[in-house]
Amino acid sequence: MNEGTGLRGRATFIYICCSREARVGNTLTARLLLDYFLSSRDRAIGFETDIIHPALSRLFPELCSAADLSAARGQSILFDRLIVADGVTKVVDLWHAHLDLFLRLISDFDFHAEVVQNRVQPILLLHKDDRERFREGYLALRKALPTAHIVMVHNRGVLAHEVAGPRTNAFSEIVINSLSKELRFALEATRWLGFRLIVRTPASTITPLEVLARSELRPIHTQLEQLRLKLDLVHAGVGPSPDKSRPARTRPRGPGER
């Protein structure tokens, strides 16, 4: 990340995939985000807090770490890196069972003050479910990290119907359509980068899996591109902030900026 357009690199983004419930697509979203950044040749690393069934660190051990949030060493692996404004995008797959612990730790550690001071921008990707606790999750996250951008994620593969959800002033919303079995296997069990097929010129021959990837991943890629563009614009102070709790402009315009 932060190579390319001049807009990038002003804030370090941390994407935290979270949910109140199990099996709402948290890990898949984290995997897709990593895929997206790696395919775009951005600098990104990942973390996951489910140390019993690690997924990301199994597939990408050189880029991803499993952090046991119940012990100081694991907390250090995660938080000591998240607060650093090094321009490296961080993707966190927060195990649903650790959400309350995560909220307690960020309160104990004054995490919010630290990220604000360091110009690190958390983006909370909260996964929808059809239970009442979803609203609690939203409110708890909003309270714990008031300057974070909250992005609602609706994974139609696990939750086919529309969810009313709470009235929110979310930064954005991402819909992940149900993916075919072959594509899910490739994403969950291999290091294959699906978005690479979209950002690169295709070879003359493509496999059936690549055909699937092009059709099913393109809408997700478009949404992730839009999210990143929106983040870049908001943090460069040149776009309106749809999140009403935050001011649109975070810094004055520099010389030569429009």
Partner: protein, 251 residues
């Protein structure tokens, strides 16, 4: 002029966290803007001095000259509070000596304020100390300190045993010291700085350091809990020699 205060942190049993509490007390008082000096009775090595070198003297409490260093200078040392970290095994003998030379009588006459933090470990031998130490400081502020150095409970699960140690003691209060994460504790040890400076991410020379954000968080949170305990027993009222209020009554 306010009455100078002497705070002694002691226990006859070793390894119960006397120096750790002394360090926290110094941090707490300094944070409140109170001038503090300290004496480290771990002669000749000194442990407290490692963390607070600028305000700590290493002393040998078996020597009269070193006793004088503490007691004869209380009035004009320039520090409102003197903290003495007494080495294991020396609490009883030191209190007896101070009784003999009339210091405890002066405390009774309000010439000095004297508070004893009696640090207890979760063992029978440690709790047994209460019955021998408490009577020696009958006119002082006697505070028992339950230092949770591990996950034991000071026999709270057994009301009979618990009551036998704590119910008959007239004290100014008891405080609980929660357990600090081992990794955080070790990092502060390595850094050799006061807890507060570790939290501020500074080194021994008071320059910016690179301490772990998480471990600083653990120490900060731990100190907050202890500060709440010290607020609860009204330590500032005690060292300020104000008339003790409810919850901070001299025994």
């Amino acid at each position: 002029m306010t009455t100078p205060a002497l705070i002694v942190v002691g226990a006859d049993k070793g390894g119960v966290g006397k120096t750790t509490l002394s360090r926290v007390l110094i941090d707490y008082l300094q944070t409140q803007g109170i001038a503090v000096r300290a004496f480290d009775a771990e002669f000749p090595r000194g442990t407290l001095k490692r963390f607070h070198p600028d305000l700590t003297d290493v002393i040998d409490l078996t020597q009269t000259s070193d006793q004088m260093k503490i007691l004869d200078t209380l009035q004009d040392a320039g520090a409102k509070v003197s903290v003495v970290d007494i080495r294991a095994g020396r609490l009883g003998p030191t209190l007896k000596t101070w009784d003999e030379i009339g210091f405890l009588e002066a405390v009774r006459d309000r010439v000095f304020t004297f508070a004893l933090f009696h640090v207890l470990g979760p063992s029978i031998s440690s709790l047994d100390e209460i019955t021998s130490v408490a009577p020696l400081v009958a006119n002082s502020f006697y505070l028992t300190v339950k230092n949770h150095i591990n996950d034991t409970t000071f026999f709270e699960w057994n009301p009979t045993a618990y009551e036998s140690y704590f119910s008959g003691v007239k004290s100014a209060g008891d405080i609980s010291i929660p357990k600090l994460d081992e990794l955080a504790y070790e990092q502060v040890e390595l850094a050799a700085v006061p807890f507060s400076r570790f939290v501020e991410n500074r080194n021994a020379a008071n320059e910016p350091a690179n301490h772990s954000f998480v471990l600083r968080g653990h120490v900060r949170n731990w100190m907050r809990q202890i500060s709440a305990e010290l607020d609860r027993v009204k330590l500032l009222d005690i060292v300020g020699s104000k008339k003790p209020k409810k919850g901070a009554v001299a025994a």
